[in-house]
């Protein structure tokens, strides 16, 4: 409960960190002023009084650091700072930035292009209900152990064969012959 409340208060002060810094600065100033007055009353010359007061207070910067660490969401603050720094550095070296961006873009583009091609051609199954029962028919003759069918043969197979749900022919470019693409539903 306590830590939850602390988190929300940190969140709130993260949003208002400028005024919070202001507040701490003012408090420190006031503290040192009061201590200086006290030292003057004790008989010290003003300059020495102020010096003593500051010595007693301790390292102002260290306190500010500690205060900041306890106040807001330090890691978010640091992250924002780092991002800003990175952007500044990139803007300073425009040429290098452009070169790196182009290199990365080309690299990512080429890999994803190759992959989507392979994906579409190899990994993706046929867009039919039972891709595993799609078969390719080939004929075997005395001259050749793997041959295509003629168009008439295709018509015969399509009309007479009972083992397949359907038969389609596909023209193989370059070969000028016909090939069967069939869907076999009579699971064997």
């Amino acid at each position: 409960m306590k830590s939850l409340r602390r988190f929300f208060s940190r969140l709130a002060s993260f949003a208002t960190r400028r005024t919070q810094d202001e507040r701490l600065r003012e408090e420190i100033d006031e503290h040192i002023a009061l201590q200086t007055d006290e030292n003057i009353r004790a008989g010290l010359p003003p300059v020495e009084a102020r010096r003593q007061a500051m010595l007693k207070f301790g390292g102002v910067e260290a306190i500010k650091q500690e205060y900041r660490a306890a106040r807001g969401l330090l890691f978010v603050e640091n992250f924002v700072q780092d991002v800003r720094f990175a952007l500044r550095s990139l803007r300073r070296t425009t040429g290098l930035t452009a070169f790196v961006v182009i290199t990365l873009a080309l690299g990512i583009g080429m890999t994803s292009g190759t992959f989507s091609m392979v994906d579409a051609l190899v990994f993706r199954p046929y867009p039919v209900p039972h891709p595993s029962s799609v078969v390719t028919l080939a004929s075997t003759t005395r001259d050749s152990s793997f041959d295509d069918f003629s168009y008439r043969e295709y018509l015969d197979i399509r009309d007479k064969a009972k083992s397949y749900d359907g038969v389609v022919a596909q023209r193989r470019y370059g070969s000028g012959r016909l090939q069967r693409r069939t869907r076999d539903h009579a699971a064997y």
Binding site: I28, H31, L34, F57, V60, E66, A70
Partner: protein, 117 residues
Amino acid sequence: MATKQKTDVLQGTLALMVLKTLDVLGSLHGYGIARRIEQISGGLLAVNQGTLYPVLLKLEQEGAIASEWGASENNRRARFYRLTREGRKQLQVETQDWEQTAAIIARFFEAKAEDLS
């Protein structure tokens, strides 16, 4: 690591001192709290006064104390801290804890060899 542990303990006790100071003296600014702690401890507590402010912030975040702007003795703007109801409860609990711990440690120091036989 040893130094870190030391400051942790110190921070804890410092928070308790702050709570007690505000309990006794009511609303007070940072400098007043620092002075009071210094007086009570008789200067034995060698802490930089600045370390008080992170502690005050932490206590405020936890809801044990609240703060608002006011005018200090020299008529400048100063942040005044006061104990909240929750802070008073926390002070009670922590005071008990502290007294218990101190009592246990004291008993260890008092114990003699013959007591154990």
